[in-house]
Symmetry: C2
């Protein structure tokens, strides 16, 4: 019987949340686990078409993701949230909503590096004043105080970060480590 | 391995959707199945706090329920939606969104009976003009043309209606019929 869990990625825009989320998804699916990724932007379209980027609207967005993660988790699915989720209080709400099977992963990357990556070209717009309330530019990002895992995406490769998440899930018993191959077990 | 499915209850306010949904939930849980009920009113609080009762807002509400049902269904959960879902087009959207594992259950009950039951006291308010756009009073309910199942809650008991839904799920192979007891199998 699979155990459900929520893996909650938080971090600045362009820190690598979505990329790693989908790599973890692929790795777990390959092992036969049920996985769903909830990307902040996708969820906005599906569940939050009405919401903007004020603190209140951001909070509502995160609460809806948390609700869906809770549903998945209690039904034995690995739910992976990839959302900036800049406010500590709201992340704590998500943790409380989901319950004990919750792993907060801080996708840590210096602002300069994220600004340089600028995957969606939004830092540029924010720095030019075309977008208001952009996290990291003119809206705050509150770092996690006690995340279960910190990924340093300016130093690790995507593959390394992915592996660290998978190993964390193994360590906590949500997924099984792959059996060693014959050769290895003979050592 | 469980098969997921969405059981979509539609019908007038006070027709019995929520009551039967929770009875079916209990019956399936007793047999060890994973089940989630999505009650229109509850979902409004969790995912649609921003929405009113205009056609557009009703549609958005239903689309969000459909999204969540799709997630559950593809992860081997029985998702039960209990929402008025008055518009045929939106129900068809839900069916398309979820895919082949979708069972539309028309909870049919004459308007006079529903008005008399008036579980939440809303028909009274609508008839007094205190609420606008109330389904069955001054907002349309479009009957399903080809539902997989019709429950006649003015003639059947709650228990009978519940059993008919459970049997429909057995018939379609989503759940297994309980094994006959020793006495019966010896016949």
């Amino acid at each position: 019987m699979d155990r459900g869990v929520t893996v909650w990625f938080t971090g600045l825009p362009s820190s690598g949340k979505t990329t790693i989320a989908h790599r973890v998804e692929a790795a777990l699916k390959e092992r036969g686990h049920k996985v769903e990724v909830f990307d902040g932007d996708v969820i906005r379209k599906q569940l939050c078409s009405d919401l903007g980027f004020s603190k209140e609207d951001r909070d509502t967005n995160i609460k809806r993701i948390a609700f869906v993660c809770k549903l998945m988790t209690r039904n034995a699915v690995v739910a992976i949230a990839a959302a900036i989720s800049p406010y500590r209080e709201t992340r704590d709400y998500a943790r409380k909503e989901v319950g004990k099977d919750f792993i907060e992963v801080y996708v840590k990357c210096p602002l300069e590096v994220c600004t340089k990556r600028d995957v969606k070209g939004l830092y540029k717009k924010a720095l030019n004043g075309e977008i208001k309330g952009f996290t990291g530019v003119d809206d705050p990002y509150e770092e996690p105080l006690h995340p279960e895992l910190i990924l340093h995406t300016d130093k690790e490769t995507v593959e390394e970060s992915t592996q660290r998440v998978v190993q964390e899930l193994e360590k906590r018993g949500y997924i099984q480590a792959p059996r060693p191959m014959a050769k290895q077990s003979r050592q």
